[in-house]
Symmetry: C2
Subunit: 503 residues, 2 copies
């Protein structure tokens, strides 16, 4: 709390670190590479999980749980596909600790060596498809629509809280289908599900689209993505969904009897989101005063700070607010969504009556933590039947009559949710350009997303990547498809794609 935030303009990365630390979101643990997710931030992750989970279930999916460990041999298929295969992951080799005999303290018991090493899952498809092979016999067993919420470990060398850490939390879907069409439909449906979530809950604007051939997941027939713009104009690939065709089924040898009684490989999709979403949430909405949270995901909607000199005053103030609290308890914040229709969230109000801290300190702390609405009320306000209400997104204050307070809170929370989205949309659109020459592309990709023609070759994409440090983020769905000329190669192009720098 004492430390100031580094201004965004000065050092965007440092500011992110300051925010995570000062807003008490997360910290590095004694185990290098692993983080501790602190309660405030974990509450946001729980809200994310609950909404997504409701969306998954509304679209007919089920959760299950698969083992943390994967036998080493399961990775051999992947290794045979990948030149210079190297997998950074946690390897379990032994299963017992004991006291050393020569007083050297605790040692790993050399007699407790595993016959085959186990890998802490970096992702679960190998172990999940190993089960699917036994579960899927006939088209009647399909589709199989299973999700897992789990922790995974990838031994990242350069860690950064939430963006990259060895262990992180995520959900991973692995579905199996009887036809190629069904699999593609599923991958596209889930793109829309996540997009609905990101639009209506995270309040983040984004371009939906398809990855170009050379950027898609190695196993995928098609990779769908959406790419939001961060405040430093970079793209973040926060989420992808993969239509895997029969590639997984061939690798894991999963066949089924189709309706014509023929043996066929299963069609698959996969996708997932991780605690990285939280990084994205910070980077999209925060300002120089700290976090700004959309009410749909905020752990606290309203903080009430009584400003009282005596205990009696404080009691009187809190009594005057009691009817508002009662009214809020009887009603819900409703978020409209395509897949959940109406999602109702209880109003979460925190009364901060800790008299060890000054009102000023509390104001700062709650601003830093992005609480959408703050209500301050002193004895004089009370005598005038009013309170001061502050909204975090615009930093505006106004006085409201006590009898109007409930309605005002409800109205403002709705407004903030929508305003954050509009703000992010406007910001993104302002920094989305078209470029028709290489010079234009070079100049504009420094300050935003650039829609430019592309000749559909990896060579051109690589030239831009090498020279401008920008990549093709996606072939956007919502952009007119019209022929033109590639500004890099001057060859014909079927359509514009989005180029951007990225994390």
């Amino acid at each position: 709390m004492a430390t100031k935030l580094t201004p965004r303009a000065e050092d965007y990365s440092q500011r992110y670190n300051d925010l995570v630390k000062n807003a008490d979101l997360a910290e590095n643990s004694s185990v290098r590479w692993c983080m501790v997710i602190k309660p405030y931030w974990y509450a946001i992750w729980e809200n994310i999980r609950d909404v997504l989970d409701a969306m998954f279930k509304a679209t007919g999916h089920q959760n299950a749980y698969f083992p943390l460990f994967i036998p080493k041999s399961f990775f051999s298929k992947e290794a045979s596909h990948v030149e210079g295969f190297a997998k950074e992951c946690a390897v379990v080799t032994h299963y017992r600790l004991k006291n050393g005999e020569n007083g050297e303290g605790i040692i790993v018991d050399p007699d407790a060596k595993l016959e085959e090493e186990l890998i802490v899952r970096p992702t679960s498809e190998t172990i999940i498809w190993d089960s699917y092979r036994n579960w899927i016999k006939s088209h009647r067993d399909l589709p199989l629509l299973i999700n897992q919420w789990a922790n995974v470990v990838r031994w990242e060398m350069r860690t950064r809280l939430f963006l990259r850490s060895a262990e992180f939390l995520w959900q991973e879907w692995h579905t199996a289908h009887a036809t190629a069409e069904e699999a593609d439909e599923e991958a596209r449906r889930m793109l829309n599900v996540y997009s609905d979530f990101v639009r209506n809950f995270m309040a983040i604007f984004h371009y939906k689209g398809e990855k170009p051939e050379h950027e898609k997941f190695a196993w995928a027939v098609k990779t769908y993505t959406f790419e939001p713009m961060m405040q430093d104009f970079k793209a973040l690939q926060a989420w992808t969904s993969h239509n895997l065709g029969q590639n997984f089924a061939k690798a894991f040898d999963v066949k089924f009897t189709n309706k014509n009684n023929e043996l066929e490989y299963v069609y698959a999709t996969s996708w997932g989101v991780s605690t990285r979403l939280m990084w994205w949430l910070i980077m999209s909405h925060s300002d120089d005063n700290g976090l700004v949270l959309p009410p749909a995901l905020a752990p606290i909607h309203v903080v009430i700070i009584p400003i009282a000199k005596t205990e009696e005053d404080q009691k009187e103030i809190l009594n005057a607010l009691a009817p508002t609290l009662d009214e809020l308890k009887k009603s819900k914040l409703t978020i409209n969504s395509e897949f959940l229709w109406e999602y109702n969230i209880p109003y979460k109000v925190k009364i901060d009556d800790d008299n060890q801290k000054t009102p000023g300190w509390k104001f700062n702390e709650r601003e830093l933590k992005g609480v959408p609405v703050r209500i301050a009320i002193g004895k004089r306000d009370l005598d005038q039947g009013q309170v001061e209400i502050f909204r975090r997104d615009t930093m505006e204050k106004q006085f409201v009559k006590l009898e109007d307070l409930t309605n005002e809170i409800k109205k403002i929370l709705k407004e903030i949710q929508e305003n954050l989205y509009i703000k992010h949309m406007n910001f993104t659109k302002e920094h989305t350009y078209t470029a028709d020459t290489y010079e234009e592309l070079k100049e504009k990709v420094e300050k935003g997303f650039v829609l430019a023609h592309w000749d559909w070759t990896k060579e051109t994409a690589m030239k831009v990547q090498d020279e401008l440090k920008a990549t093709i983020r996606c072939l956007p769905f919502d952009w007119e498809i019209k022929e033109g000329i590639d500004p890099v190669s001057w060859k014909p192009s079927a359509r514009r794609v989005i180029y951007a720098k990225s994390y």
Copy 2:
């Protein structure tokens, strides 16, 4: 489904294995020692988690997330306390796989050896208290009431689905307090929270109490427990809560400045429940036809099985049931609870209109899976404006007029929830005895719980354990405290305790 269940009387353990397999709850994975929790069973775990989590939050607790890995050195404190220390756990020694150079396939990269081995958490107190040391400075930072939902790994040699497996899911609480009284209050409060859950959601009767000195957790000042009776009359220690006094704080060196401005060690509690609860749920309510699930935790409340010869008939039947489904959607199953007051659960109805399977097959499957209510309706029933309604707990069928159906479903679900508890309570009480001689104790402990006097010595408890294979499960709260004579040693006793055989 094809396999029959082994009758309980014949082989209780085998019957449990049959149930888990045939009801499609879980299976062993390719990784020996680890299980796959299948969707139906995982849905029950989610219901358990959601209710408990609501209770934790209602009593002022927060969730956070700590690392999966713990440095080996963190176990040295424990090792120095435990004679012949041996910890069966998963040890991570390396962080990279690669292709071997001599064509031997994938190998663990010998250059990627960790300086200090990491242990996959068997429980998290060492890593959590390592953070607490930094978080707690003053009495103003207390109480710290934190819970974690996580996977943990203990390298059990003899595994059994849910009861013992290397990896399992659980929640673990670790709280820190400024006074001894507060810590004990917390440990007792949580005993009551879990008891509320077990009574009102799991519908299981149990004796609450305190563990005798020699049975308590090594670090604890007091260990609270409750012990339910399984169908084979054995006790299961499904849950304990520990008042740890200052023992943890001393081990992890966590001090705070108290109100008198003196440096003092923090007072702690800890407790948790795991996927073992699900084993307990199976063992308490199931019968020879399969699972019996309390509606408060069942993934499906009502299954509707239309019995139609033509598609037209099926359509007509489902149309006739539509008003019932609409009415159920507008209302909730309310479970009354001490800590949640009223917990509302949406009615979960499944229409099983898969015409690949016969009604008889479906009836069996849903009985096996413990769905509380089944509705069967054919064309002839429809013409008479009625349906057949079957309740799983009593296996009774009755005909109900269509217009009464919604109310009847609601009424029956409430009845089942309460009936299961009463049934389990009656069963337990019928098999709870008092014994005043060693002969009586010996005879009765074979068929239930035995309340007997105890002279408060470990020697006596050990004699009973050696000779009768029974242990003191707890010093029950709800039993008259009256002096008497220990039937084993013939020495004076302050009160009766519960002896039982156990898992």
